[in-house]
């Protein structure tokens, strides 16, 4: 990971270029780049400029509202929050095993979510850069341009997403912000008619998902040198895996590897995630910086999401996606599996896996069962972890004897990737921007590095109450007259005199 460009020595002497807002990502963020007179890059930061207060205002609410309330964090992958909260509250209710129907309906909902979110990201947000070129004409570099130039590709993207949304509607009650998953199980299963309706198109969805994998593979083959090198950096990683080491996006233990691929922990029980993961805070971002405690705040940075999941699992438990995983890992001696743009390839392999999972579940009679709820011995707290489209998502709640939430902690996928995204944009800045005249096309390269992670910036800002701040008083001539800093404990101290 790159920390060298995090903070310039004399920022007041440098020119500032801002990409504000970063486009074609979920939520609002900006990138600032500080350059000297020779266009040499001295500082690059990805800032998250919006704020969420869910951990605070969920306090005092009854626990059964939580899965429905916290999913409002996001309109793109609310199912992930809906399910992570439900899983946490299953644990709080002392439920170790859901009924087969509840487990499979939740898995179906989650697979629908993965399918629609990955399709949205690849076709609507990322494909304009990949199909037209990184520095191509800005007027065409959008979904409308894709529709005009590649109508068949765009159509598949729209219909794949629509199908995923239908799976969500039938399992959760609504396409966005449903109520299907409740602490202890689900409130509905599929009717025979709903099952038949989804079965009609699922084979087409599997076929189109295979086409999508072929598209990104083809792009890698055509642009091998550029794609492999673009924003490349070595990174540790983390994901959930099933008991047999297979990819499991809904449930499992935590697996982590360092930058050399050495296992740091495996099948770790996520109910004590804080034993292995810490959260650092920095004065210039609302987003926290998680790290592996055993390696410290800098060496312990890691990345999550499709690239970590596809490269770190032992296999994918659906045949077509597993073949694609093997091909991805073997491609050009494994080069794509370490590339930042490898995220896109891994994401499409996961989309294929999700389509196959939906197909398998639609042929399982448990999804039309009627045994929906389980019970258990009530506990004081619960932790739920799920692999959301963008990576590992952690929900943690403590509930008092009156059934009110007294503490909530959410570590969302994009937060895990905070340092990795900053590193990627710094790498790209050094590769493409250092010492040259900056153009819009070059700045888009920075955004392409961010988009590879498919960040959801709206979900990811959680530093309430611990937010360190730096305040600078700047004179009319630009010199810094005074500076003060509030640290993560809320203590304010003066910084050395700059006058």
């Amino acid at each position: 990971m790159t920390f060298a460009l995090e903070t310039a020595k004399s920022p007041e002497t440098l020119r500032r270029v801002a990409i504000d807002p970063v486009s074609r990502v979920e939520g609002h963020g900006k990138v600032t780049i500080l350059l000297d007179d020779n266009n040499k890059v001295h500082q690059v930061r990805l800032h998250i400029v919006e704020f969420r207060g869910f951990e605070k205002f969920i306090q005092g609410r009854p626990y059964w509202e939580v899965p429905v309330m916290v999913q409002r964090l996001c309109g793109i992958c609310p199912v992930s929050h809906h399910l992570a909260a439900s899983k946490a509250l299953d644990m709080m209710l002392g439920i170790k095993q859901l009924t087969p129907t509840a487990d499979k309906i939740r898995r179906l909902m989650h697979a629908g979510q993965m399918l629609q979110s990955h399709a949205l990201h690849f076709f609507h947000l990322a494909s304009p850069d990949l199909l037209f070129g990184f520095g191509s004409d800005m007027a065409k570099r959008n979904i409308v341009g894709v529709v005009a130039a590649h109508p068949e590709v765009a159509k598949k993207g729209v219909l794949l997403r629509k199908y995923g949304q239908e799976v969500i509607r039938m399992t959760a009650g609504k396409r966005v912000h449903g109520t299907g998953s409740v602490p202890g199980g689900v409130n509905k299963s599929l009717s025979a008619e709903e099952r038949a309706e989804l079965q009609k198109d699922i084979y087409q969805m599997v076929a189109w998902s295979r086409d999508a994998v072929a598209i990104i593979r083809g792009l890698f083959e055509q642009n091998l040198t550029q794609y492999n090198a673009f924003g490349r950096f070595r990174s540790a990683g983390m994901c959930l895996v099933g008991a047999d080491g297979a990819m499991d996006l809904y449930h499992g233990g935590l697996r982590a590897r360092d930058i050399d691929g050495k296992t740091l922990f495996d099948h770790f029980d996520y109910s004590r995630y804080w034993d292995v993961i810490g959260e650092d805070v920095k004065p210039w971002s609302y987003m926290k910086f998680p790290f592996f405690k055993s390696l410290g705040t800098e060496d312990g940075s890691y990345r999550v999401g499709p690239l970590s999941r596809v490269t770190m699992c032992d296999h994918i438990p659906t045949p077509l996606a597993d073949k694609e995983r093997e091909a991805f890992l073997a491609f050009d001696g494994g080069s794509a599996a370490g590339a930042t743009l490898g995220y896109h390839w891994a994401r499409m392999i996961e989309m294929l896996h999700s389509a196959e999972t939906i197909k398998d579940l639609l042929h399982d009679d448990d999804i039309v069962g009627h045994d929906l709820m389980a019970t258990g011995q009530r506990q004081e707290r619960g932790v739920g972890v799920i692999e959301a489209p963008r990576g590992t998502l952690i929900h943690h709640y403590r509930v008092d004897e009156n059934d009110q939430v007294i503490r909530a902690n959410l570590i969302v996928s994009t937060t895990h990737n905070n340092q990795a995204m900053n590193t990627a944009v710094r790498e790209v800045a050094m590769q493409y921007l250092d010492g040259v005249e900056i153009t819009e096309g070059l700045l888009n390269h920075i955004e392409i590095a961010i988009r590879a992670f498919d960040p959801c910036l709206s979900c990811a800002t959680h530093a309430l109450g611990q937010m360190p701040l730096e305040i600078a008083i700047v004179g009319a001539d630009g010199t810094v007259i005074d500076e003060a800093m509030r640290d993560h404990r809320g203590l304010i101290r003066e910084l050395p005199d700059h006058a």
Partner: protein, 237 residues
Amino acid sequence: MNETNTFLLDGEEIPFTPGQSIIQAATEHGIYIPHLCWHPEFKAHGSCKICTVKVNGRFGSSCTMAAQAGMNVENRTSELDDKRRTLLQMYFVEGNHFCPSCEKSGNCSLQATAYELKMVSPHFDMFYPDRAVDASHPDILLDFNRCIMCSLCVTASREVDGKNVFSMGGRGLLGRRIHISSESGKLADTDFALTDRAASICPVGVILPKRKGFAVPIGERKYDKLPINLQVSEETP
């Protein structure tokens, strides 16, 4: 039936029994007059003003005004529905009504009435009052954020349950509220029970059974199936 015991409601002749209010006669005849604080089981409270109609050209509460032979009552006119919508908007901004995460959503009279009257925004600035949640009772949660001061819980507890668990007190927009009749002010210190009539009377989401959230899926809730104006005879919870 005495043929003189009728009145006109939006041009339709409605029979009534002497002593009935306008809303009672209309309800018996299957006609919906929008309302919140009135309930067919109890004496009218006359506080919400949503049931305001025009009788012979003058405004009046249809829940407190006795039906009279020959009166001409206007109900679902655009003039009256506009005023009702404004009143509803005031109800929404005075409390903290977050339908998306409310268990009562789909079964809520306030929400259903707002849909019926085509309220699409709160229009006024939100008050965001600081109201308490009383989670002390083992079986029942009280979330006063959603209270519209209809007083149905006060009446039901007093008249049906014989307990006087609730009372209304205080002055002013932010001071007036439902009080719990116990020394601590907590529901846990009363003899309130889930089987009380008052426990199921709340038209909004203040009084709800604990540990039961979203058990009924979207699409299968009371007002998901039919709008409130078509459920006049089934209104009693």
